[in-house]
Amino acid sequence: MRDRLKTLAWLGAVLVAFTLYPWAFPTKLNLGVVIVLFAGMATAWDVLGGWAGQLSLGHAALVGIGGYTLALLSLRAGVPPWWGLLAGMALTGAVAAFWGWIVFRLRGPYFVLSTIAVAEILRLVAINWKDLTGGAEGLFLRELPRPFGLDLFNRTVEFYLALAYLGVALLVAWWLSWSRFGYSLQAIREDQDSAMAMGINPTRTKILAFMVSAALTAMGGSLYAIYLSFFEPHIVLDIGLSVELALIAYIGGAGTVFGPTIGAVVLLAAGDLFRNYFQQANLLIYGILIILVVRFAPEGIVGGWHALVRRLIRPAPGVPVEVRGERP
């Protein structure tokens, strides 16, 4: 219980710290919105990828569905963006349910391969089905209604919306860290057969995790669409985006509450800071980092931090130590 509340307190602290960002960096709002949105989407990815251990390399499809749903409903039917966002979440949840029901019967790398295939097919559909999606030309969100007089295209407004989104994502991750559902996800991740022996239905649980992950990702996708205002399939349905989300979560620390957020902050902020030197090498560095993380620090930055803390408070031999219960 104490641990639970402590993490929640940290969560609150992180969000409060972020609220100061527009005041601290008023000329870097574009970057800020992107960092917060990606932190949220990486956390959403992590629900399936880190907590449940099902690696998806097709999450861009869910970002895209979220974005396109909001945009199409707004442009074609005048539906206000908040309903469009919820519709996107519902749609992706349904897609994930169907998709999961089909592929979660498979083990091994087949799930990963299927995510790539499905995302690619969706991209091709978006490009070719012009009447529905506007095709390769993409969509332009020219005008949006103003809830409470707020301009949704104002970067500061977008920042706080994105922050609210991150808050929701973090709360979900926090919930996973102590709930029964969260534990069943981890059980499946560690050893699916033993999990089954314990009475957990792996297929059903995986599908539920996928639905949560998908809806949460779509929420971010909708906000991303507003931020871009002008987007094409290539930007929101690209496999590069899927890989980026996975890597951010993993490098930050998969399966942890704050890992993906830390990954997003570190990678995207560093990318901007060092853009004069590393702009071209951005992806190269991602590649090198993931190799290093996978090889030497599978628990990412978060894991590395814990290891460092443990090292620092290592007691003299012979002295019993109360080690904080931690997941392997």
């Binding site: 095709g135 295209f153 871009l228 205002s229 071209q280």
Partner: protein
């Protein structure tokens, strides 16, 4: 004490006198530029930079802007949207009076949307997609040609050939295009013009970029025997299409290329003899009959260190236009810069520049395009006659008779 004060006063007075005798260095005027220095579009970014450099030199040689030397504040968009938006934010924070950019339509579109909302002037220097200035915004200007002009110019050429050679029937068109935004919009334009000018579109095939084998599509089109094969492709695909067209033995009377892929040097190099006779529409060629075109070509070639593409010329034109507007602007406020741009009436080596609202476009320069043809392994500008030194060779002989 009083002595010291007196000395100090004298020194200060003397110093201020001296400083008026030697005026302080003039603060340079910084113009913002966003381009793709790295990433997928780096080669085009390089071309744009060459154009900007040639224009910058010319501007500073002719006295700068209101006596101030001009400098460029260049930001890299790394061929991605988020970086471009952050770059714009940075440039705006630095207070530049105008921003020029970028190559890719996929990036220029969100950039234009952002600049419009921020009420800052954007002069689009490299993107052709119609939707950037249609419906456009009061803050977004474009001096270069739009995607739909590719199609209209080629259909003007077809009309001309119809009239010059009435004995040769020219009625059916097959359209082949990539699924990218630009290619699709040009193809859409082609369909509209075809219908308007009484051509029958016998096929319209889109292909996704990547590992592309055009033989199946070309085979199918060959069976339909079109008079015109209208192709919209980027460089790599253009080369492959023409090579495979030769293989598959497809023989329309006209091979028409309506995009960058067919209009640049690497096309001829890559496709070899398969490039001969191909027409392509393009914004600018070195031998087009605008004043100073040939000299511009030489300068661009030196600045780029290689054969310059028309992107370099377009970037050059954009910076020249920006400088011209800033010289005329009453102040450097965004409203005054915008108004000065709107009043532009200029002739450049790349073509005439005026910003008009027409056919749904806003602040768009109705600059025409030209058509070149590969003759004897070289590009020759052949149409329209008023600005083209060469003549079109027609009709295209079948592959086995070349």
């Amino acid at each position: 004490m009083r002595r010291a004060l007196l000395v100090a006063l004298v020194v200060v007075l003397a110093g201020s006198l001296v400083s008026t005798a030697f005026p302080a260095p003039v603060e340079p005027l910084r113009i913002g530029v966003i381009t793709s220095l790295t990433g997928r579009f780096a080669t085009f970014g390089k071309m744009q930079m060459a154009g900007y450099q040639v224009a910058l030199e010319e501007i500073n040689r002719t006295g700068g802007i209101k006596g101030r030397p001009v400098e460029l504040l260049v930001e890299d968009d790394a061929s991605t949207v988020p970086a471009a938006l952050s770059a714009a934010e940075r440039l705006i924070a630095k207070g530049v009076p105008i921003i020029l950019g970028t190559y890719s339509s996929g990036i220029s579109k969100p950039l234009a949307g952002y600049m419009d909302r921020q009420k800052r002037v954007l002069l689009v220097s490299g993107s052709a997609d119609d939707s950037i200035t249609k419906p456009g915004s009061e803050w977004v200007f474009r001096a270069k040609s739009v995607a739909s002009t590719y199609a209209s110019t080629l259909f003007d050429l077809f009309q001309y050939l119809r009239e010059q050679y009435p004995a040769i029937p020219l009625n059916t068109v097959a359209i082949l295009h990539g699924t990218g935004a630009f290619e699709t919009s040009v193809a859409d334009g082609a369909v509209v013009y075809a219908k308007a000018r009484k051509y029958q579109v016998v096929a319209r095939e889109a292909y996704d970029r990547g590992l592309t084998d055009f033989r199946p599509i070309l085979n199918r089109i060959r069976g339909l025997n079109p008079d015109i094969l209208f192709m919209v492709s980027y460089e790599e695909d253009a080369v492959a299409i023409m090579r495979q067209a030769k293989e598959v033995n497809i023989n329309p009377k006209i091979f028409a290329g309506a995009a960058a892929g067919f209009a640049i040097e690497p096309f001829i190099k890559g496709a070899g003899d398969a490039a001969e006779w191909v027409f392509s529409a393009t914004s600018w060629t070195p031998d087009v009959k605008y004043p100073g075109a040939r000299q511009l070509y030489e300068k661009l070639k030196k600045a780029a260190g290689m054969e310059p593409s028309y992107h370099a010329a377009e970037a050059y034109m954009a910076l020249i236009v920006a400088a011209d507007a800033l010289r005329r602007a009453k102040s450097l406020s965004q409203e005054d810069v915008r108004d000065a741009l709107k009043a532009t009436k200029l002739m450049t080596p790349v073509g005439p520049v005026e910003f008009k609202d027409f056919l749904g476009f806003k602040n768009q320069n109705p600059i025409p395009m030209v058509v070149e043809q590969v003759q004897g392994g070289k590009f020759v500008t052949v149409f329209p006659a008023s600005i083209a030194p060469g003549k079109p060779k027609y009709p295209t002989p079948p592959w086995d008779k070349r």
